[in-house]
């Protein structure tokens, strides 16, 4: 097993959560803010709005760091979900309906140091698997995330039958699903 690095993003988020570490936060900001801005730009946000949404996303990282659970999602996955949700809320005129957690559910365990290592290894496996996806599958997956379009519109754009797009997405997800299961 590789040793967890202090500048591993998951460890930076944990440092923010555990002791409000502003140096760790600055490193997270420098790494993720430009990427989140780029994500917003790709999905059609004007530059000023993309910058502001990125600021909002990273502020949310600060505020919600204690909710980050590396055994469930890697750092970039967690920040992706924050950015995606902010974007949806910015488009809609009200917040998304959310299902309140059942208070009888088990609370998450304290994140252990080896959970960070396991999460980093899982993310590396996922990255390798994504790089190995057939080009046509990778393309529809990519378009699903970087075009503000449902798969039916992507099919139209690519001039493909809807069934072909759906089966490519199904094959891609089937390959990746086994790699990101719960580490607990």
């Amino acid at each position: 097993m590789t040793k967890p690095r202090a500048d591993e993003p998951a460890n930076l988020i944990l440092a923010v959560a555990q002791r409000g570490d502003r140096d760790a936060y600055a490193l997270l900001f420098e790494h993720f803010a430009p990427r989140v801005k780029s994500y917003m730009l790709r999905l059609g946000a004007p530059p000023e709005a993309a910058e502001e949404l990125s600021q909002e996303a990273l502020l949310t990282v600060w505020r919600k760091a204690a909710l980050f659970d590396p055994s469930r999602a890697g750092a970039s996955t967690w920040i992706f979900a924050i950015a995606r949700n902010l974007r949806i809320d910015a488009i809609r005129r009200q917040r998304r309906p959310r299902i309140e957690d059942d208070p009888t559910d088990e609370p998450p365990a304290e994140p252990a140091a080896d959970a960070v290592v396991a999460a980093a290894e899982r993310d590396a496996r996922l990255k390798t698997a994504m790089a190995a996806l057939p080009r046509d599958q990778a393309e529809v997956v990519r378009q699903s995330f970087f075009q503000d379009k449902a798969h039916s519109e992507i099919a139209k754009d690519l001039n493909l039958p809807l069934g072909t797009v759906k089966s490519r997405l199904r094959l891609a997800l089937a390959r990746l699903r086994g790699l990101v299961g719960d580490l607990a």
């Binding site: 999602a73 449902a150 990101v180």
Partner: protein
């Protein structure tokens, strides 16, 4: 989660990926959210798709932020309202009341039932405001035991999620947590099983094309 629930009809992987990517309309995203909350299998699929989103984010070449961006961010940490949120599970000590015999839904959905309109004996509809007027439509539909749903087809696609009870569509039985995904090829009139009313959360892209008087009443009261 109801551990005894057995879910047999899941949304397609394409829908789950669109959901994880944030590209579904509000009404369909709501149906998928409620299903995923109840379904461990689809939770794993959405987690995988979100991990793909994370990997794609990591791979993006960053767009330069303005020169004072980090200073602004650090200054914002000191402002009121930027306090860290408490750890998980302590935020909502009093979750809103849920209809006890439905699968778990967001408060907005449970509250919509208070605005139900009876449109025929045994049938009520309750529109849900998803915050996107003119977009896809979201509503609750309740049909009494042993009745049929209004016969209809669609000009777009329709997602129906069973919250309570069960219906038969052809040979397929849909119970709590099951999702039915139909497109404009289908003309159907699902039958509610005897013994219990059926309450569904429906998302519809476009107007229903209804074939009978009951359907027209549902349509006029649901605002669809």
């Amino acid at each position: 989660m109801n551990k005894t629930m057995s879910i047999n009809h899941h949304p397609s992987d394409a829908l789950l990926i669109d959901y994880a990517a944030g590209s579904l309309g509000a009404a369909r995203a709501l149906v998928i959210a409620v299903h995923v909350h109840a379904c461990a299998t689809c939770q794993a699929s959405v987690a995988a798709a979100e991990a793909v989103g994370g990997a794609l984010l990591e791979d993006l070449s960053g767009a330069p932020m303005s020169p004072d961006a980090l200073d602004r961010a650090l200054a914002r940490l000191e402002q009121p309202g930027s306090e860290p949120a408490p750890p998980a599970r302590t935020q909502a000590p009093h979750p809103p009341a849920q209809p006890h015999d439905w699968i778990r839904v967001p408060a907005e959905v449970a509250e919509a039932a208070g605005r139900k309109r009876w449109v025929a004996p045994g049938v009520w509809v309750a529109p849900i405001d998803t915050g996107t007027p003119g977009g896809s439509l979201s509503y609750l539909l309740r049909v009494g035991q042993g009745m049929r749903m209004p016969q209809h087809t669609h000009s777009g696609s329709e997602l129906t999620l069973v919250l309570k009870g069960a219906f038969l569509d052809g040979d397929d039985r849909y119970g709590p947590g099951d999702v039915s995904e139909v497109d404009d090829e289908v003309e159907h009139s699902p039958a509610i099983l005897a013994g219990e009313e059926c309450v569904c959360l429906v998302a519809c892209d476009n107007r229903l094309i209804v074939r009978d008087w009951l359907g027209r009443l549902v349509q006029s009261y649901a605002g669809i």
